[in-house]
C-alpha cells in the first residue's frame, strides 16, 4: 500500500504536470489520439454499417469481420504497423483505426437490426421513401446502439494508446514504459492510475451520451409507463 501512496504522490506533484512532456500535455495527447482514431474509424465504419443494416446486404461478411476482429491482438497490430510505417504517428494511428472499426461497424448495423421490422414495414406502406426510412426511423432508433459501439471503440483505443508508447508514440503510456525501464515503480503505477481514471471518465461520458441518444418515446417504453 505504501507503493500506492507513492504513486498517488507522484501523480499529485505539480512539477510533473507542466511542460511539453508533463502529465497535462500527455493526457491531452492520449485523449487526442483517442478522439482522432474514433472519428476516423467512425467515418469509415458508420456509412458501411448503415448500408449493411439498411439493405441487409453484406451482413454475413460484416458479422464475420467484427467477430474475427475480437481475436486480433492489439500489441501485434501495433508492432506490425509500426514496423511497416516507421517512426511517427501514422503507424500507431493506423493500428488504432483498425482496432476501432469493428465495434463501430457492428454497432451501426446492429442498431438498425434492433428496429422493429413491423415499424419499418408500416412506414414503407405509408409511403416513406428508402431515404426517409433511413434518416427518420433507422438512424434515430439505432443511435443508442451506435453510441455503445463508439464507447467500446474509444475504450479500446485508450488501452491501445497506452501500449503505443512501446513503439514510440506519446500519451500517458510514455511514463509507464519510462518507469518500467528505470525501475521507477511510483511513476509506473502513477501513470497506470492516470490511464485508468482517463478510461473511466471517458466511459462515463459515453454512458451519458448513450442515455441522451435514446429517443423519448423509447425511454418511456422502457420505464413501462402506461396510460
Amino acid at each position: 500500500m505504501n507503493q500506492l501512496w507513492e504513486a498517488v504522490l507522484w501523480c499529485l506533484d505539480p512539477a510533473h504536470w507542466t511542460g511539453p512532456s508533463g502529465i497535462a500535455a500527455r493526457s491531452l495527447e492520449h485523449l487526442g489520439y483517442t478522439l482522432l482514431a474514433v472519428v476516423i474509424a467512425a467515418a469509415i465504419a458508420v456509412p458501411i454499417g448503415w448500408w449493411v443494416g439498411h439493405t441487409g446486404r453484406g451482413r454475413g461478411a460484416a458479422v464475420a469481420l467484427s467477430g474475427a476482429a475480437r481475436a486480433l491482438p492489439t500489441l501485434g497490430v501495433l508492432t506490425l504497423t509500426a514496423l511497416l510505417l516507421g517512426i511517427g504517428l501514422a503507424g500507431p494511428m493506423t493500428a488504432f483505426v483498425i482496432l476501432a472499426v469493428p465495434s463501430i461497424l457492428a454497432a451501426a448495423y446492429a442498431g438498425f437490426e434492433a428496429v422493429d421490422r413491423r415499424v419499418i414495414d408500416a412506414a414503407r406502406a405509408q409511403g416513406y421513401t428508402g431515404a426517409q426510412v433511413l434518416w427518420q426511423i433507422e438512424v434515430p432508433l439505432g443511435l443508442p446502439v451506435l453510441v455503445g459501439g463508439l464507447r467500446s471503440a474509444a475504450l479500446q483505443v485508450v488501452a491501445t494508446a497506452t501500449l503505443a508508447a512501446y513503439v514510440g508514440a506519446g500519451g500517458l503510456g510514455r511514463y509507464l514504459f519510462l518507469g518500467l525501464k528505470t525501475q521507477d515503480y511510483a511513476m509506473m503505477l502513477g501513470s497506470s492510475l492516470l490511464v485508468v481514471v482517463l478510461a473511466l471518465v471517458l466511459d462515463g461520458v459515453f454512458a451519458l451520451a448513450g442515455r441522451a441518444a435514446v429517443p423519448r418515446g423509447v425511454t418511456v417504453a422502457r420505464r413501462g409507463v402506461n396510460a
Partner: protein, 300 residues
C-alpha cells in the same frame, strides 16, 4: 375500384402464394379477405399499394394498372393499418397521425388541425395527442393506426388484421366503430382477417380463401351463413360442428336464450319488436363480443 386480373405471385423460394386470382372490389364497400394463415390474403392486399408486386397478372386501381405507378406516391394515396399498429415508437400520437400529410408537404399547423379531426373521428381523447405509443393501451394504439391510415383522406384503406392483437371486448367495440366510420366516410376498405366472426360482423362482401388464394366462396355474410358453397366453407364457419345452428331455449327469468347444437349459449333473443333488424349482419348474434345473460342460461 380495385380489380385483380389473373394475378399470380410466386416467391423467390418457389412457393406460390397466389395462383390466378381475379376479383373486383366495388367502390365504397368494405370487402373482407378471410382465410387461414398462409392462404395468400395478406399478399393480395399488399399488391394494392405495391408492397408486393405480382409475378403475373394485373392489379388495377380506378382502371389503372398500379405497376405503372410510383410506389411511394401510390402508398401516400392509400391508407394502411396493420396489426400491432406499426406506430413509430419515437414519435408522439399526433406526429404519427400526421405522418402522411407531412410527407405530402402539408404545413405543420394544418397537419395539427387534421390530427385533431382524425382523433375525434376514431374516438381518441385529444389529451392523448402528445403521448408516445408505448404509453397507450393496445386498443388506443389501433385507433391511432386507423387515424393515421385515414389522415391523408385516402380513397382506399387497407387493413391487415388490425384488431388481431387486442382483447375480445375492445375488438368488438373497434369493429362496431369501424362499421359506423365506414358508413360515415364511404372509403373503400379492404380488410384481411383469419377470424370468420370478424368477417361476418364487418364485411359488405366476404371472400373466403383456401391455400394459394383459391376462392372458396364470395358473397354477403348472409349468403355465407344461409348458403355455404361447400364443406370447406362450412368447416371454416363452424357450421359442421353445429356452432351456428342455433335454437331457442327459455331461461329461468322468462327471457329466450339462443343456444348452439352443443347447448352452449350464443346470446339472448331480443323482443320481436325491440331491436331494429340488422339484416346485413346475421352473424352478429354469434360474434366474439360480450354475451349478456349467459349466466342465467340453463345447462350452462
Amino acid at each position: 375500384m380495385i380489380s385483380y386480373r389473373s394475378v399470380t405471385k410466386r416467391f423467390a423460394d418457389g412457393t406460390v402464394a397466389v395462383q390466378d386470382f381475379s376479383l373486383d372490389v366495388p367502390r365504397g364497400t368494405l370487402t373482407v379477405l378471410a382465410g387461414s394463415s398462409g392462404c395468400g390474403k395478406t399478399t393480395l392486399m399488399r399488391m394494392v399499394n405495391r408492397m408486393v408486386d405480382p409475378s403475373s397478372g394485373q392489379v388495377l386501381v380506378d382502371g389503372e394498372d398500379v405497376a405503372g405507378r410510383d410506389p411511394v406516391a401510390l402508398r401516400r394515396r392509400i391508407g394502411y393499418v396493420m396489426q400491432n399498429s406499426g406506430l413509430l415508437p419515437h414519435r408522439t400520437v399526433a406526429q404519427n397521425i400526421a405522418t402522411v400529410p407531412r410527407l405530402n408537404g402539408v404545413d405543420r399547423r394544418a397537419a395539427r388541425r387534421r390530427t385533431g379531426e382524425m382523433m375525434e373521428l376514431v374516438g381518441l381523447d385529444a389529451k392523448l395527442a402528445d403521448r408516445y405509443p408505448a404509453q397507450l393501451s393496445g386498443g388506443q394504439q389501433q385507433r391511432v393506426g386507423v387515424a393515421r391510415g385515414l389522415a391523408a383522406d385516402p380513397d382506399i384503406l387497407l387493413m391487415d388484421e388490425p384488431f388481431g392483437a387486442v382483447d375480445p371486448l375492445v375488438r368488438s367495440e373497434l369493429q362496431r366503430q369501424l362499421r359506423q366510420l365506414h358508413g360515415q366516410i364511404g372509403t373503400t376498405i379492404l380488410f384481411v382477417t383469419h377470424d370468420m366472426d370478424e368477417a361476418l360482423a364487418l364485411g359488405d362482401q366476404i371472400v373466403l380463401l383456401r391455400a394459394g388464394a383459391d376462392i372458396a366462396q364470395q358473397g354477403t355474410p348472409r349468403e355465407f351463413v344461409a348458403e355455404p358453397a361447400n364443406d370447406f366453407v362450412r368447416t371454416f364457419l363452424g357450421l359442421d360442428r353445429g356452432q351456428r345452428t342455433l335454437h331457442r331455449e327459455r331461461a329461468a327469468d322468462g327471457s329466450i336464450v339462443v343456444v348452439d347444437a352443443h347447448g352452449r349459449p350464443a346470446g339472448v333473443l331480443a323482443e320481436p319488436d325491440g331491436r331494429p333488424d340488422d339484416g346485413a349482419h346475421p352473424g352478429a348474434a354469434a360474434d366474439g363480443g360480450p354475451r349478456p345473460g349467459i349466466q342465467d342460461a340453463p345447462g350452462a
